[in-house]
């Protein structure tokens, strides 16, 4: 996979989450994503950025325009040094939440992307990577 373009944002406030949505939208438009695909990747970004802020205590996101075997896409990596997730499988379940939300952030973001991976351990922070192809 080749990275064509990369930029980073910090996730420290609710305003940062809005800025990340706008940045992801712009990249999706540049890559020629359809309106529905733009909406899906921006919505997934919003869910994951909020998780980074709320559960990870803030962190950063890397927005990459990528190319693989001639297809182009957006890869988003959310990283924090927060408390981590003790049971990732449980956290991925629809409706499971420890924060009073709807419990759709992680599971919903996975459904809205083509590739999804998560690494997390207690005390080690969390890293979520998603990719959506054009």
């Amino acid at each position: 996979m080749t990275v064509l373009l990369s930029n980073r944002h910090t996730v420290q406030s609710a305003e940062d989450v809005v800025a990340i949505r706008q940045s992801v939208r712009q990249r999706a438009v540049e890559l020629g994503f359809s309106l529905v695909d733009q909406t899906k990747i921006v919505t997934a970004a919003s869910e994951l950025a909020r998780n980074t802020l709320q559960y990870g205590g803030g962190g950063r996101v890397t927005i990459d325009a990528v190319e693989d075997f001639g297809r182009r896409g957006i890869r988003l990596t959310f990283e924090d040094e927060g408390p981590g997730i003790p049971d990732v499988e449980l956290a991925m379940k629809d409706g499971y939440t420890t924060g009073g939300g709807l419990g759709l952030g992680l599971s919903g973001a996975r459904r809205l992307s083509n590739d999804f991976s998560i690494q997390s351990a207690p005390g080690k922070g969390t890293r979520v990577t998603i990719t959506r192809w054009r």
Binding site: L35, V36, T39, T43, S46, E47, R50, G101, L102, G108
Partner: protein, 123 residues
């Protein structure tokens, strides 16, 4: 502080969300709206989201909460103008907006509100 304006039209309140809301702004709207329902003795609330490019789980929950709170306060809420791409994404996200009445546009939303309020009076 930044706020979403709430317009009063007779016994209805009209909210048009024109900005990409951050979470605190969404919470402020929810608080302001419930206060205004009581203050204005509103019978109906119309929320126009046609300018919203996404509805994520936070905004979705805010809409569902507003609908539930207004019902308790004896007012009906209708959400209008959801973009097709937003609707497709919402369903895939897993959000069904249970208990939220929707209409295609403001005109149909007003019709729906009037109808619901008439039904309530007849009950």
């Amino acid at each position: 502080m930044e706020r979403i304006p709430i317009l009063k039209m007779g016994e209805y309140l009209l909210v048009t969300i024109q900005v990409d809301m951050h979470d605190r702004l969404a919470m402020t709207l929810q608080d302001d709206l419930t206060a205004r329902i009581v203050e204005a003795r509103a019978k109906g609330v119309l929320i126009d989201i046609s300018a919203l490019e996404i509805v994520d789980s936070f905004i979705g929950r805010m809409l569902a909460d507003i609908a539930a709170m207004s019902r308790v306060l004896d007012a009906e809420t209708v959400v209008v103008g959801m973009r097709p791409a937003v609707a497709i994404t919402l369903v895939e996200l897993g959000l069904t907006l249970t208990g939220v009445r929707t209409a295609l546009n403001v005109e149909r939303g007003m019709d729906l509100l009037r109808e619901r309020i008439r039904e309530r009076l007849a009950e």
